[in-house]
C-alpha cells in the first residue's frame, strides 16, 4: 500500500507513520521499564489519599530582622524542620517550600500529629557547650579511650574519615573502638575540615583579662556550675554519662535522631551526650556556656589575605562576648578534646571547633576546610539561632487512612465512569474512528501514569485528590483534540476527497487548532502553578502535564495511526462502521465538481 502520490504532496507529515508509531511505542516501553526499574509501580499518594497529617507553615519575619524571607532562609528552615520531623522517627515525612513564604510539612499516617506540630512549631535551641569527652560515633561496648590531642591536619582528617567508615562497617561486631582509638575524632577530623577558633581582631590586652578571668573561674568551677561552664562531672554522673555515651549510636540515622531528641530535651544546665552531624563522633558535653541568642551575627567570608579559605565570622552581644571570652580562655588551657566547644543545635553537634586561646572582644572566627556551602550553612545556623524565621501554622489537615482510601476509590470510580461515558459517546458518534480515539486515550493514559509514578521519586510529586480531578478532566481535553482532527477529516471527505488525502489535508488545520487551544490550556495551568499555592498547584500540575502529553500523543500517535489506518480497506472504502462513510457524512456527487474547482484556491498546508 505504498503511497507515492501522498508522499509527494506533503512529504514531512506522513512519510513514515510506522517509524513515528514505533518511536512512541519505544517511549512507552522505556517509561514503563523505567517505572519497574525504579521499583515504584504506583504513584506516590498525597496525604489526602494515603492518610496522614499535613501542615502549612507561613514564614514571618522575626522582630528586628526585616526581609529575612528569602530563598536561602526558607531552605535553611526546611532543612531544620525536616531534621526535627524526622527526629520523631517518621520515615516518609516530607518538608518542602511552596511559593515564597510557605512550607508544607507532610507526615504520613501513624504519627502523632500533636507531637509533630510541637516539633515543627517550636524554636530550636542553639547553644555552645564545652566538650568533655569525644569518641567514635558507633555504639561502644566499653569506655572509649581518651582522645589524644591530635593537631595534625589533612592526613589525619582523611584517616579519621576512613576510621569512621570502618566503624560503620564494623558496627555489627561491636568491638571497634579499640583499634580505632589512636586517631581521635576531634574537630580537626570533621569533614568540615579543621575548624579552629582564633582570636580575631581581638586586642591582646582584651584577651588577657579574659584568660585570667577564665582561669579564676576554673579554680572554683568544680564546685559552682553556674560560674564555671565546664565542670567535670561528679563521679556518679560521670559513670552514668559514660554509660549513656556508650549506648549512643551515632552511625545510623535513626540512632542519631534518637540521640538528638534526647539531647534536645535536656535542660541547658544539664550535661548531655550528643552526636556530631556526620555521625562519626559522639561527645559528652557540659552545660550550655553561651546561648545561641547571644550570637548577634554570623557570616561566611572568604579569607584571601591569610589563605584560610572559607571561614565563619561570629559576633556576640555584650553578654555573649563576656561569656565567650571566659569559656574560650578556659578551654584553651586544656587538652584535646576538652579544648573544643560544640555548637549544638537541637541536640545535635553541628560543629566542634577547638580553641587555642581566649577570645575576647565579642568577635571570633571559625576556620579550616570549609566549602562555601558548609560555611554559609554554619553561619546561617549561628546567626539565626535556629529557624531563621518564625513560622505560624496556617493550615492543618488530618486525613485518616480510611477516608483517604475512600477518596481515592471515589476518584478512580469517577474517572472510570467519565471514561466510559466518553467512550460510549465516541463509539456512538464516530464508530470505527473511536478506535483511534480509544487507542490514543490509552497511550495518553499509559504515558500519564508512568510519568506520574516516575515523578514521585524524581521531584517528589505526590498524587492528591485535586491532581486526580485534573487527570479526569484531562480525559475530556485529550479527547477533544481527536474530535477536532476527526471533524476536519470528515469536512475534507464532505468536500469530496477520499480518505487518504482527507487525512493528510485535514491534519495541518487540525494541528493548528490543537496547538493553539492546547497552548491556551497549558498557559492557564502554568499561570496557576506559578501563582497559586497548595491544592490548586497540584491540580495545575496535572493539567499542564496532561496537556503536554495530549500534544505529544496527537502528533506522535493519533496522526500516524490515522495515516496507517487510511490505507486499510475498512476505513478507506468508507465502511458504514468506520465512521467515515461518505454517504453517511452526506457527500453528494455534485460536490465533487465544486471540489475540483475550489481545489486550486484551497489553502496549501505547510
Amino acid at each position: 500500500m505504498a503511497a507515492p502520490k501522498k508522499g509527494r504532496r506533503s512529504p514531512g507529515g506522513q512519510g513514515r507513520p510506522g517509524r513515528v508509531l514505533a518511536l512512541i511505542l519505544i517511549a512507552m516501553v522505556a517509561l514503563t521499564g523505567g517505572m519497574f526499574a525504579s521499583g515504584h509501580t504506583t504513584p506516590r499518594l498525597g496525604i489526602d489519599l494515603a492518610g496522614g497529617t499535613s501542615f502549612t507553615l507561613e514564614a514571618k519575619n522575626q522582630p528586628g530582622r526585616p526581609n529575612a524571607i528569602n530563598a536561602t532562609n526558607m531552605n535553611t528552615a526546611v532543612g531544620i524542620i525536616e531534621r526535627r520531623v524526622n527526629g520523631l522517627g517518621v520515615t516518609e515525612s516530607e518538608v518542602q517550600t511552596q511559593g515564597d513564604n510557605h512550607i508544607i510539612v507532610n507526615i504520613p499516617k501513624g504519627t502523632d500529629a500533636k507531637q509533630a506540630r510541637q516539633q515543627v512549631g517550636t524554636t530550636a535551641q542553639l547553644g555552645f557547650r564545652p566538650v568533655l569527652t569525644a569518641t567514635a560515633g558507633v555504639k561502644t561496648p566499653e569506655p572509649a579511650p581518651g582522645a589524644t590531642g591530635d593537631k595534625d591536619k589533612g592526613d589525619k582528617a582523611k584517616q579519621d574519615e576512613k576510621t569512621g567508615e570502618k566503624n560503620k562497617g564494623d558496627k555489627s561486631t561491636g568491638a571497634t573502638t579499640k583499634p580505632s582509638g589512636s586517631p581521635s575524632p576531634t574537630a580537626s577530623a570533621s569533614p568540615q575540615g579543621r575548624p579552629v577558633t582564633d582570636a580575631l581582631k581581638a586586642d591582646k590586652d582584651d584577651a588577657t583579662p579574659g584568660a585570667s578571668a577564665s582561669a579564676s573561674a576554673k579554680a572554683d568551677g568544680k564546685k559552682d556550675e553556674k560560674k564555671a561552664p565546664t565542670p567535670t562531672p561528679a563521679p556518679g554522673d560521670a559513670a552514668a554519662l559514660q554509660k549513656k555515651l556508650d549506648a549512643l549510636d551515632c552511625s545510623t540515622k535513626e540512632g542519631r535522631a534518637k540521640a538528638n531528641e534526647a539531647a534536645a530535651g535536656a535542660a541547658p544546665t544539664d550535661m548531655i551526650v550528643a552526636c556530631r552531624k556526620d555521625g562519626q563522633v559522639k561527645e559528652i558535653l557540659g552545660p550550655v556556656a553561651v546561648e545561641g541568642t547571644n550570637v548577634s551575627d554570623a557570616s561566611a567570608v572568604f579569607d584571601t589575605q591569610q589563605g584560610k579559605g572559607w571561614l565563619v565570622q561570629l559576633k556576640f552581644d555584650s553578654t555573649g562576648a563576656k561569656k565567650f571570652a571566659q569559656v574560650t580562655g578556659q578551654l584553651a588551657t586544656k587538652q584535646s578534646p576538652q579544648n573544643q566547644f560544640a555548637i549544638v543545635l537541637d541536640g545535635e553537634v553541628v560543629s566542634d571547633p577547638s580553641v587555642t586561646s581566649s577570645i575576647g572582644g565579642g568577635q571570633a572566627e571559625i576556620s579550616g576546610g570549609f566549602t562555601q556551602q558548609s560555611a554559609s550553612e554554619l553561619a546561617n545556623v549561628l546567626s539565626y539561632g535556629a529557624l531563621p524565621l518564625s513560622f505560624d501554622v496556617v493550615t492543618e489537615t488530618t486525613v485518616t487512612a480510611a477516608l483517604g482510601g475512600e477518596q481515592l476509590r471515589a476518584g478512580l470510580i469517577a474517572g472510570a465512569i467519565g471514561l466510559a461515558l466518553v467512550i460510549v459517546y465516541l463509539v456512538a458518534y464516530y464508530r470505527g474512528l473511536a478506535l483511534v480515539a480509544l487507542a490514543s486515550l490509552a497511550v495518553s493514559a499509559i504515558l500519564t501514569y508512568t510519568i506520574m509514578v516516575l515523578l514521585g521519586p524524581a521531584i517528589g510529586f505526590a498524587l492528591n485528590l485535586p491532581a486526580v480531578c485534573g487527570a479526569i478532566v484531562a480525559i475530556g481535553i485529550t479527547a477533544d483534540s481527536f474530535i477536532v482532527y476527526f471533524e476536519r477529516i470528515r469536512d475534507e471527505i464532505r468536500e469530496g476527497r477520499t480518505l487518504r488525502p482527507a487525512v493528510e489535508r485535514g491534519w495541518p488545520r487540525a494541528r493548528r487548532t490543537i496547538l493553539v487551544s492546547d497552548f491556551v490550556s497549558f498557559l492557564a495551568a502554568a499561570v496557576l502553578f506559578i501563582v497559586t499555592v497548595g491544592k490548586v498547584q497540584g491540580f495545575a500540575f496535572t493539567l499542564g502535564l496532561t496537556t503536554l502529553l495530549d500534544v505529544v500523543v496527537v502528533f506522535l500517535f493519533t496522526k500516524p495511526l490515522m495515516t496507517v489506518l487510511a490505507r486499510r480497506k475498512f476505513f478507506a472504502s468508507g465502511h458504514p462502521w468506520s465512521g467515515l462513510d461518505p454517504a453517511r457524512l452526506g457527500v453528494r456527487p455534485p460536490l465533487r465538481a465544486s471540489r475540483r474547482r475550489s481545489a486550486p484556491v484551497d489553502p496549501k498546508e505547510a
Partner: protein, 376 residues
C-alpha cells in the same frame, strides 16, 4: 445516527444553520440578563465562603453513635463559636466551626475526640488559619489577572485583537455566571471551587479558540470577494464548526459529570464535588458563550473596521445590482457563475437588501454559503 451525521454535513455545507450572528441581539440580551442576575445574586446573597476562606475547622468523625446535637454541644463548648453538625449517611459526623484560630481549632478537635472516644488522629481534620484563606483568594485573583493579560496578548498575536477582546468578554461572562450560580444556589465556596473556576479559564478559552480558528480560516480571503459580509461568513463558519463545538463540549462535560455524580452521590461533600460542580457550570457556560457571545462579538467589532465596512458596502451594491438585473429579467448576464449559484444569489440579494446588516442576513447566508468552493 445517520441523521445526525447528515445534520453535520448539512451544517457544514450551510444547508441548515442557525443565524447566531444575526440574532445576536437576542443572545446578548439573554446573556446580559443572566449576568445581571448573577451580579445581583452576588451582591444580595453574597458567596457562602467555606472555612478555608474564613478560617476555622471541619472535622469528620469515624462512624459513631454520638448524636449530632451532642457533638454540636461539645464543639461549641470547646470552641466558643457556633458549630454546624451534620450526621452523614454512613453514621459519620461532620462538624464545621468557622472563624476559629488554629489554637481554638485544635482544642475543639481534642474535645471532640474525647467525646467520641476515639484517638485524635482518627478524626479527619481540616484546620485553616484566618490569614490563609485571604492568601488563597488573593493568589487566585492574581492568577486570574495574569492569565487574562497573557491570554489577551497571545490571542491578539495568534488571531487579532478583536478576537482577543471577544474571548476575554466571553471568559468574564462565563466566570460571572458560574460565580452567580454559586451565590444564588448558596453552594459553599472552597479551594476546590476556586480550582474549578480557574480551570474554566483554560477550558472556556479552549472552546472559543476552536471556534475562532474556524472563523479565521473562513475569513482569510474575505476582502477578495463581494458576496458575503464578515458577519455572514462568521455565522457560516460558526455553523460549520458547530458539530465540533458540541462534540468537544459534550466530551469535556462527560468526565466532569462522572466526577459530579461520584463526588455528590457517594462522598456527600468534598473536593471532588466542589471542583466538578464549578467545572460543570463553567463548561456549560463556556460552550454557550463561545458560540452565542464570542463570535457575534467578533463580528460586531469587525464590522466597525473600515475595510469590512467597505466590504459590506460592496456586498450591498452587488446585491442591489443583482436584484436589479434579476428584476430586468437579464438572467443570462451571469456568465461567470453557475445557474444554480445565480439563483441563490438572487435570493441572497433579496434578503440582503432588506436586512443584510441585521436579522435577515442569516437566512441569505444559509443558502448562499453552500458552495463554499465557488465563493472563493
Amino acid at each position: 445516527m445517520s441523521r445526525l451525521g447528515n445534520l453535520g454535513a448539512r451544517l457544514y455545507r450551510g444547508e441548515v444553520g442557525y443565524d447566531f450572528v444575526g440574532k445576536r441581539k437576542i443572545w446578548y440580551g439573554i446573556s446580559i440578563l443572566i449576568t445581571i442576575t448573577a451580579i445581583v445574586g452576588l451582591a444580595v446573597r453574597g458567596l457562602n465562603m467555606g472555612i478555608e476562606f474564613s478560617g476555622g475547622a471541619v472535622f469528620n468523625s469515624p462512624p459513631t453513635s454520638v448524636s449530632a446535637t451532642q457533638a454540636q454541644q461539645t464543639a461549641e463548648d470547646a470552641s466558643g463559636h457556633p458549630a454546624v453538625v451534620q450526621k452523614l449517611g454512613n453514621k459519620t459526623l461532620r462538624v464545621q466551626v468557622s472563624e476559629l484560630t488554629t489554637e481554638q481549632s485544635r482544642k475543639t478537635q481534642e474535645a471532640l475526640a474525647k467525646k467520641l472516644a476515639v484517638p485524635v488522629d482518627k478524626i479527619n481534620t481540616d484546620i485553616v488559619g484566618p490569614s490563609w484563606g485571604d492568601q488563597i483568594a488573593n493568589k487566585a485573583w492574581t492568577g486570574l489577572a495574569v492569565f487574562m493579560i497573557l491570554v489577551v496578548i497571545y490571542l491578539a498575536i495568534a488571531f487579532e485583537w478583536r478576537m482577543a477582546v471577544a474571548a476575554l468578554i466571553a471568559l468574564i461572562h462565563d466566570l460571572t455566571i458560574t460565580v452567580g450560580v454559586y451565590a444564588l444556589v448558596g453552594f459553599e465556596v472552597t479551594p476546590g471551587t476556586v480550582i474549578g473556576l480557574l480551570t474554566i479559564l483554560g477550558y472556556s478559552l479552549y472552546d472559543t479558540v476552536v471556534v475562532f480558528d474556524g472563523l479565521k480560516e473562513s475569513a482569510k480571503d474575505i476582502t477578495k470577494q463581494t458576496r458575503f459580509t464578515y458577519s455572514e461568513i462568521a455565522n457560516r463558519s460558526l455553523n460549520g464548526t458547530l458539530v465540533r463545538s458540541i462534540n468537544t463540549t459534550v466530551v469535556a462535560l462527560l468526565p466532569v459529570a462522572g466526577l459530579l455524580f461520584i463526588g455528590g452521590g457517594f462522598l456527600g461533600a468534598g473536593m471532588l464535588n466542589d471542583i466538578s460542580l464549578a467545572l460543570f457550570v463553567g463548561l456549560a457556560a463556556g460552550a454557550y458563550s463561545s458560540i452565542f457571545i464570542a463570535t457575534p462579538l467578533v463580528a460586531d467589532l469587525k464590522e466597525r473596521d473600515p475595510q469590512m465596512k467597505a466590504l459590506a458596502k460592496r456586498v450591498r451594491a452587488r446585491r442591489a445590482a443583482d436584484a436589479a438585473k434579476d428584476g430586468s429579467g437579464d438572467a443570462a448576464g451571469s456568465a461567470d457563475a453557475a445557474g444554480e449559484d445565480e439563483d441563490e444569489d438572487v435570493q441572497d440579494a433579496a434578503a440582503g437588501v432588506v436586512g443584510q446588516r441585521g436579522q435577515g442576513a442569516g437566512r441569505s447566508r444559509g443558502r448562499g454559503g453552500r458552495p463554499s468552493g465557488k465563493r472563493r
